[in-house]
């Protein structure tokens, strides 16, 4: 296995992009990444696209071929593949792109994630998001993604004394971060009282505890570290990319208060990178709900189980804190176009590690971590990126 570098990145605005189709977004992000990487289309060995649900959201499958065709790659015979791991599809695509370059099979791979969610009524989108759960045993009986997370939140409150205010603190923090990110869907700070007083989605989670419905796309170009070194002495290296899985249905798990898949993926990633978690300067974690970020910082081992709520409340995970988490605004404020999220997380790390994050820059960031979860915890990816 050889070292892999990120040569370029491109991301669209996230939000309700009424005037843009999935192909518009995918191409926009892809071209931006190619321009940033200074590569030509005939240098591309493969295109991978993370997408969760275009088959139902816009009645279009075969997204790899769609994007490749409209990006002008079809005539060049470039292999294109869609990769699906629920809302961890972006991370899954990144992982497999990493493997293909690390193996030596491919030299240059464009890997993106895209989702167009706003073409359908909200209630249909809720049903489609619930397909990431166990359809036969959970969704069929009425469980939605946020209903599952609400059960997790209740249990976490019961076992660890986590409070509504602590969960709300996650939303307040991530909206404050999002306000500094020009690509974020929500760029305005919110108050704790607003989160607590927002209409319920699935109690105890309210509207402002949950990631929004979003359109958006993101793409990066991967290449071998050797090639990156030829261009510049400083580049972003993929220090590790790891995945772990768990049972699909929540009721099959030993505990509701943590995601074993996140914990295992983290252990694998640290081992692959040869790093300790103390060395991580910042993390983009899967805050599809506020309780999700609390779970994540615990499962990734940044704090002890039960202390995730306090981490948000105390400012530890805010910009300027000990471990800034979700400086992009996270899924909560940057937006959560399902398949695009995993790549957007990687791009936030790239910006931070390059020192290009502007007003939300984490000082002297050298090592960053991205954590993307599929559904309610059956899949987790952890990537560690390093500024070389």
């Amino acid at each position: 296995m050889r070292d892999v570098a990120i040569l370029g990145a491109g991301i669209t605005q996230f939000g309700e992009l009424w005037e843009s189709s999935l192909r518009d977004l995918g191409i926009q992000a892809g071209f931006e990444a190619m321009r940033d990487a200074r590569i030509r289309s005939d240098e591309i060995d493969a295109l991978l696209v993370g997408n969760m649900a275009a088959g139902r959201l816009i009645d279009q499958t075969h997204i790899g071929a769609l994007i490749a065709d409209h990006a002008g790659l079809a005539g060049k015979g470039v292999p294109a593949v869609t990769i699906e791991c629920a809302d961890a599809s972006g991370a899954a695509a990144f992982h497999h792109a990493y493997l293909s370059v690390a193996s030596g099979l491919h030299d240059i791979v464009v890997v993106g994630g895209a989702e167009k969610m706003t073409d359908l009524p909200d209630e249909d989108v809720t049903d489609i998001m619930a397909t990431s759960l166990d359809q036969q045993w959970e969704a069929f009986f009425g469980a939605t993604l946020f209903a599952d997370y609400a059960m997790v939140a209740r249990r976490h409150m019961h076992e660890h004394g986590t409070t509504r205010e602590q969960m709300a603190a996650v939303a307040v923090k991530n909206h404050a971060h999002g306000a500094l990110n020009p690509k974020a869907q929500f760029q305005r700070p919110i108050k704790l009282e607003s989160v607590l007083g927002a209409p319920a989605v699935a109690q105890p989670l309210g509207v402002l505890d949950c990631a929004p419905i979003s359109d958006g796309a993101a793409a990066v170009v991967l290449c071998s570290a050797d090639r990156a070194r030829k261009i510049s002495d400083s580049y972003i290296k993929v220090a590790a990319s790891a995945q772990a899985g768990d049972s699909l249905a929540l009721h099959s798990r030993g505990s509701l208060c943590g995601f074993e898949a996140s914990r295992v993926a983290m252990e694998k990633a640290l081992k692959l990178a040869g790093r300790s978690r103390k060395e991580i300067d910042l993390a983009e974690v899967h805050d599809v709900t506020t309780i999700s970020e609390i779970l994540a910082v615990e499962d990734l081992g940044f704090v002890k189980k039960g202390e995730g709520g306090r981490a948000a409340e105390s400012g530890m995970t805010a910009l300027g804190g000990e471990l800034p988490v979700n400086t992009s605004g996270g899924l909560k404020a940057r937006g959560h176009p399902l398949g695009a999220t995993g790549i957007a997380q990687v791009i936030e790390l790239v910006e931070q590690l390059k020192g290009n994050a502007g007003r939300r820059q984490v000082k002297d960031a050298r090592l960053g971590l991205a954590h993307n979860v599929g559904g309610c915890g059956a899949t987790a990816f952890v990537h560690i990126l390093e500024a070389v």
Partner: protein, 352 residues
């Protein structure tokens, strides 16, 4: 020949249901819902009321106020999205009721919430060209919201009628323009009982784009600025949208005050802007300018630049009820009575 408003009439059913009563049925937070929508209550048509009775009530008031015989009216157009008949005009019944038949033209209009203002524009064309002396444009609706749908909190009932002519005007319509695109934000197909809508798509790309584009176009064509107007009336699907649209165009909340009725009577659809304009004329003084922009889903906006004349004072303002007095005349009902009145209960074999 410049066209304008000769007289106007309004009607609002007396029944009201509070947002709280609807929210309680569907397990929503009543306070948050009322605040979120900016709607405290909405009007509900009685068991014997429909678009015909509403339109007739408003039309008769306009005729009474004008003091003109029915045969002075050369056109009756009724705009609504809840015409009682799919085939058979509402307008002929209204024309008959005001004794305007038989030597006139009549038709029903439909353009979601702006069918009433479209009817006003059509009448302006006919009177300006000299084809007819007076045209009666009515916007009336008993709008539909499916049980549990967010629309149920606002879809209400009302009517307003405007007698359009070229002489003896209480208000001159200096200019009108429209902005129309194919934007499917809200629709109801033939035979369907309740409309469907595109959720948040009804906001930025639909309501706000059309209102702002049409409003800006009118300001540009008129060479005027928002502060030139004493009052402004915008389509009001809820209590929040018109305030945001007004702010976007540079109008102040005070300018909207007399014509912003949705917070109390809900969205009366085709009657929303006509009723708002009628309520504004009720309090307007000679020389006041009124900026009007209606919106209809599907989608389009109609803007009007209106100047009130001296005749506003000489017309009979006391013999006919003001819009405010119609709004004040109310009977609160609960959801059960509301469900009965709106045909939401299945009786016996499923008959309404």
């Amino acid at each position: 020949m410049a066209a304008g408003i000769v007289s106007y009439g309004a009607y609002v059913p007396r029944f009201r249901i509070a947002t709280e009563s609807i929210a309680n049925v569907w397990g929503q937070d009543p306070v948050a819902m009322a605040r979120g929508l900016g709607v405290q209550s909405k009007s509900v048509p009685g068991a014997d009321e429909d678009v015909v009775t509403l339109a007739v009530a408003a039309a008769r008031m306009a005729m009474r106020r004008a003091g003109l015989p029915g045969n002075a009216v050369g056109a009756v157009y009724v705009g609504s999205e809840s015409h009682p008949y799919a085939v058979k005009p509402t307008a002929t019944i209204v024309a008959e009721a005001i004794e305007a038949t038989p030597l006139l033209t009549a038709a029903d209009f439909e353009f979601a919430c702006k069918a009433g203002t479209a009817a006003i524009q059509a009448c302006m064309g006919l009177v300006s060209s000299g084809m007819i002396g007076h045209g009666l444009a009515v916007g009336a609706d008993t709008s539909q919201g499916a049980p549990g749908d967010p629309l149920e909190y606002s879809a209400s009932a009302g009517a307003a009628a405007f007698l359009i002519g070229t002489r003896d005007l209480v208000a001159l319509i200096d200019r009108t323009c429209s902005f129309t695109t194919d934007t499917p934000d809200f629709w109801r197909r033939e035979g369907q009982r309740y409309p469907r809508h595109g959720g948040r798509f009804t906001g930025a790309p639909a309501y706000f784009r059309h209102i702002a584009s049409c409003g800006r176009e009118l300001l540009e064509r008129s060479g005027s600025k928002p502060s030139d107007y004493t009052y402004a009336v915008f389509h009001q699907p809820n209590g929040k949208f018109p305030l945001r649209a007004a702010e976007e165009l540079g109008f102040k909340p005070e300018q909207l005050k007399p014509g912003l009725l949705t917070p109390v009577i809900g969205n009366t659809y085709s009657a929303a802007v006509p009723l708002g304009l009628a309520a504004t004329l009720d309090v307007a003084k000679p020389g006041d300018r009124i900026f009007v922009t209606a919106y209809g889903s599907g989608a389009g906006a109609d803007s009007f630049d209106i100047t009130v004349t001296d005749r506003i004072l000489s017309q009979d303002r006391t013999g006919t009820p003001t819009v405010q007095s119609l709004i004040d005349r109310k009977v609160m009902i609960d959801y059960a009575i509301y469900a009965k009145l709106r045909g939401k209960l299945l009786l016996g074999g499923g008959a309404e």
